[in-house]
Structure formats: structure tokens, C-alpha cells
């Protein structure tokens, strides 16, 4: 019996089904999700990415940071993300609306970075980590990204952007444009806003406090 056409049609139907279920259904389901406008604050969340942040996200992509870092804070019942202080709440789909390339990541060789902007206050901390991770975090297995910095001879005054690192006398280390963008992006990663869905889908401490307060009010 010539089964060729049946195999072809069956294979086509199967792939169409797979595509419909996995991709099309999601696109229809939440592909049109929009940022949340908070009338009280007069701003929408997540905040739009300024140009330097968008460029930094591209540096993050091209250096392959996602090989070792995830960008997803998991729920309290799935591991120790929240106790580790990687976020105030679990990540939700809306957090990623402005990311050109969403990189959730597959392996946590380093810590999760979805909220890293909330954990490090100054850009200097990030520069130190990128230039000499072993000094900034003893025992760290992160490679140094020296190629994101320029070592130059001090002519006249030391640059105000120069890093506070050990370097030969008369020399200074200055972050390149790529390093500045990358650090601007990392500082931008700060998912602290409580969307309506963060309270209901992932009930946490704050949400239950709110609920308790409401009940008291009634």
C-alpha cells in the first residue's frame, strides 16, 4: 500500500497542531498584553527602556550572559529564589514586555539577574564585578570582562569615570561605551512594581497583608 501521501498529510496536520497549541494559542492568549498604567503614580509599568538600556540589553545578548544567568524569579513554592532575595515577588509575563530579546535562561551557574538592579546600588559595583569578579566576590566563578574596559595612561587629571581598582601607577581603567550600556541595562532590571496579577496569581506577604487590611476595613 502506498502510504506516502498519508504520512505527508499526517505530518503536516501534526505540525500544524503543535504550532497552533504552542505558539498561536499563546500569541492570541497574551500576545497583546500591555504595560499597566498606574493612575496614582502617573506612570506605566514596566518602565520603557531608554536608548542606553536597550543597547545594554544587546550587549547582554551578544556576550551570551544567558549561558550562566537566568532572568526569572520563581514562585515561593519552587525553590529558594525569594528567600535568596532575588526578588520581592515572582516574575510575571508583563515584566518582559519591553525586552527586545527575552532571555529567561536555562542554567543558574551565576545568580538570577532579573532584579539585580535592586540589589546593587551604584554602577561602580557592577564595573568592579565585570572587571575583576574574583576581587569583588571572592570565590566567584565568573570570568573577568577586561575587554569591556580600557586601560590608559593618565594625562593631566585622573578621569572621574576611572575605576577604583589596583593598576600600575600613572594608569587608569575606564569603562567603554559597551560596559556603560551593559551596566545601565543591569541597573534597569528591577521588577518591584506590584501588578494586579502579582497579587492574585502569586499571593505573597504583601498581598495577604492587603487582603487582611481590606477585611478589617469592612
Amino acid at each position: 500500500m502506498n502510504r506516502g501521501p498519508y504520512i505527508f498529510l499526517g505530518a503536516f496536520a501534526l505540525l500544524a497542531f503543535s504550532w497552533t497549541a504552542a505558539i498561536l494559542a499563546n500569541q492570541l492568549g497574551y500576545g497583546t498584553l500591555t504595560p499597566h498604567y498606574d493612575a496614582m503614580e502617573g506612570k506605566s509599568f514596566p518602565a520603557p527602556q531608554p536608548g542606553i538600556v536597550a543597547r545594554g540589553a544587546m550587549v547582554y545578548t551578544d556576550l551570551g550572559c544567558a549561558a550562566c544567568h537566568t532572568q526569572q524569579v520563581r514562585r515561593a513554592d519552587l525553590g529558594g529564589d525569594l528567600t535568596r532575595g532575588w526578588g520581592e515577588r515572582a516574575s510575571v509575563a508583563r515584566d518582559y514586555l519591553h525586552e527586545k530579546t527575552v532571555q529567561l535562561g536555562h542554567n543558574r551557574i551565576g545568580p538570577d539577574l532579573r532584579n539585580v538592579g535592586a540589589r546593587y546600588e551604584s554602577p561602580e559595583d557592577f564595573y568592579q564585578l565585570l572587571y575583576a569578579p574574583e576581587q569583588a566576590l571572592p570565590g566567584s566563578n565568573m570570568p573577568a570582562y577586561r575587554f569591556l574596559f580600557e586601560e590608559s595612561k593618565i594625562s593631566g587629571e585622573r578621569s572621574k569615570d576611572a575605576l577604583d581598582v589596583a593598576v600600575a601607577p600613572g594608569y587608569q581603567v575606564i569603562p567603554t561605551e559597551r560596559a556603560r550600556s551593559l551596566v545601565a541595562y543591569l541597573s534597569y532590571l528591577e521588577d518591584v512594581y506590584a501588578y494586579p496579577e502579582t497579587q492574585y496569581v502569586y499571593p505573597e506577604k504583601e498581598a495577604s497583608d492587603d487582603a487582611a487590611a481590606e477585611e478589617e476595613g469592612q
Binding site: 505530518a11 505540525l15 503543535s18 516574575s91 527586545k100 529567561l104 536555562h106 566576590l137
Partner: protein, 488 residues
Amino acid sequence: MDPDSSLPQSPDSRPEWAEIDASIKVPVLFFVYAAAAWLVTATVLGFIASVQLVQPAFLADCAWTTHGRIVPLARNALIYGWGFNAAFAVLIWISARLCRAPAPQWGITLVGALFWNIGVKLGLIGIMIGQSTGHFLMEMPGYAAAVLFVSYGIIGASVAIIYSRRREGNLFVSQWYGLAALFWFPWVFTIGQAALVFGSIRGTGQAITAVWYGHNIYALFLAPIALGAIYYLLPKRLGRPIAGYNWAALGFWSFALFATFGGLAYLAGSPVPGWVQALGVSSNFMMLVPLVVIGYNFLGTMLGGTPAGGSGPALRFIKFGAIAFLVAGLMIKVFSVPQIYVTTQLTFVNEAMNQMHWYAFVSMSFIGAIYFIVPRLATHAWPSGALITAHFWSSVAGVVIVVASLVLAGIAQGGAINDVEAYPLFADISAHYSGYLVGAALGFLTLLVGQLAFLVNILMAIYQACFGGRVTDPTPLFPQPPVLEVNS
């Protein structure tokens, strides 16, 4: 090609095979050579990546060789370099032999093959100089993807023409897998590229599309062709029909249906809709159906009642691949249990499962098929039996060491990440599992030894095929089991 009178009068040397073999000889041997060279490249890159995990300063000072670029380079070289070239060789051979039809114009297929390899090189250079798209297994920049797509069109069309010319009406199970994979890959590729590289889906829909694509490159292209190779070679080399052949159709359709959603399980716990996570995890459990059916076909054939008729180097690799397929299927179920994936998700266990699927199952099956195909096309025995033995044992040892080290590393890593009190600092966590990563690096080195032996053997075989002159005595090489070329 001149059918030599010294060949035994077995089905392999019927005059029509000579015509078929002549029509596919050059492109298939080219694919085999390119595949083996990529395999060595991929393993060298994998070794560098695993050394960098233990020695972060290794090759870290240059952006081109930073760890975040070496990892996708190794992965893409393994899949698109080794995996696809080997898959093309196996697919063309199986299609031509089982359809009993010659391929059209081998020169055109060869052009497709050359451009495929140019596309892979362009893509890897793109990743190296910082043009990665950042999506799993789709890291190659768009221009390289376009070259791959067009070359696949040429290669795929020549396989499709073989099917359209077939003289054998019945389609054997290997041909179902081959025919379906032939069409699935371009569809999956188009969907993935259109959604992520050339178009843009917003938000975490990107992550869903990326895992769907990445897993389906395995589930709807590499795995079907590897399964087809096992279905083809097991009965042929053992001299027994497939046990429970009538069930094979159920295995085929259920494998495709459930495996296609398996990738979504990587997103369990991620910020994507809950039903997507449930679909992925439950598909991994439903894979029990094809696993039982295909397992019955494979194990039943291997352990069948009648004494085995054949042997040879191909059989050892094929048996290993068949068993690895079943073991991988059971492992994925274990790691899909919620109480377990709480620990093992987002750890080296993911990488271990990739190695299990891509290397232990798919690659070992392809290698087995290549050991079967090349001597028949070259009409020469493999130049060195010792190199084959070295390749087999170093592959077995290497893949077991790599997978075991990565699983142990992942369990230690996931346990430590979730235990905040005992491991408050990330440096403590990496110190906790780095010993296992040394094991993984040694495993890659072990694999590399065998693959170099493989490459040397292939180069010598191709040299013999081109300049070897008369056919050497092929009798020990072609112990013929009863003909099982097409379904009975």
C-alpha cells in the same frame, strides 16, 4: 561504478545497487567527512567551555572566546555541523536504498551540501563576533539562517525526488520517519525564524517559541532520522524482522505527537501561562506510550528468539543508541516530577539531558549508520578496526562520564541554590559542585580521543574510495543476514 566480481553475490551487490550507490556516493561521503570534522570541532569547543567553568580565566580576555559565546558555538557546531550533516548522509542512504531509486544529479546535492556547511561557518563566525540572536539553537544571525534554508531546500528536494522515483511501493517504518522529518524541519525552521529572528513576538512568548523550536529540532528532525536508522539497521544486522512491527505505526505517531511539546517542560515555573507548563510536563509523561512501543520494537528485535545472524561495528553503536533512547526517555520522566524538578530545573541537569538526547542517542545511532554506509559506498573495508574499537569505547566512556557528571553537578547545584541557609553565597554553591565539572571536562576529552580516531578512519576510507583501486576482499566486512531491506 564497476560492480566487482569479487563481491559476494548477496543482495548488497545486485546490479541495481551499483547504480543507486553511484548516484549518492559523492554527496554522502562528503556529508560524512563534514559531519566528522564538525564533531571534532564541537567537542573541542565543548571541552573549552567545560574548562572555563572550572578555570574562569581560561580564554576570557578576548570577547570572541568568552564563555557566553563558546557555549552557543559548541551547541550550534554539534547540532547544525555534526548532527545535520550526519542526518543528511543517513537520510539520503536510507531513502535511496529503501526506495530502490537512484538520487538525481549528485552534483546538485553536493552544491547544497557545500552551501549548508558555508552557512554553518557563517553562523558560527556571526556568534563569535557578537551577532548572536540570543535564542536557544537559533543563535545564528539571520543571514546565516537564510543560507541554511536555501541549502536545505536543495538537499531536501533531492531526497524528495528519490521518494517520488521509488520502485518499491511499500514504505518501511524507517521511511516514515525519514519522509516526515524531511518536511518537519523546514516548517519548524521557518516558524522559529519568522517568529523570533525576522519577526518579533513580544514578551515571554519568545521563550515559548524558542524552547518549542529548540526541542523540535531534536524531536522532529534529528530523533526521527536516528530512529529510522535504528529501525533500518537492527533487523538488517541481526537477521531478524522487527519485533511487533505492526505496532511501529503507533510508536511513530505517538512519538511525534508527544515529543513535539516536550520542550515546554523547560518552562515549568517560568513566567508563562500555567497550561503551557502543564502541557510540557504531561507530554513528557505521555511519552511513555511511544517509549513502550518503540522499546518493544527495539528490545524485542535485539533479544529475539532466533540466534543473531550478523555483527559488525555498526551494530554496537546502533544498540547503544537504541538503549540510550530508552534511558533518556525514562530520565526525562524522572526530571519531570515536580518534587524533583524543584531542584533540578535551571541547573546542569538540562545540559545533561541535552547530551543524553543529542549525543548518547542521536549521535551514536548516526555513527552506527555511518559505520554501515561508508564501506558499502567506498567498496572497501574500514581501514582500521582498532580505530573503530577505540572510537566505540571512548564514546561509551565519554558519554557516560559527561552525562553522569552533569547530572550530579546539577543535583548538587540545585540543592545548594534552594538551601539558602547552608549556602548563602554563590561562591559556596559553585565550589560545592565544581568537582563534578572537572569530570565533565575529562569526559569531553575522552570523547575527543574517539572522535579523532573516527575522523582519521573516515579520511583514510575516503582516500581508499578515491584512489584505492581494486576492491579488497570485502567478505569479512559484509556478513549478509537474510534480506530485510524492505518490509515483509
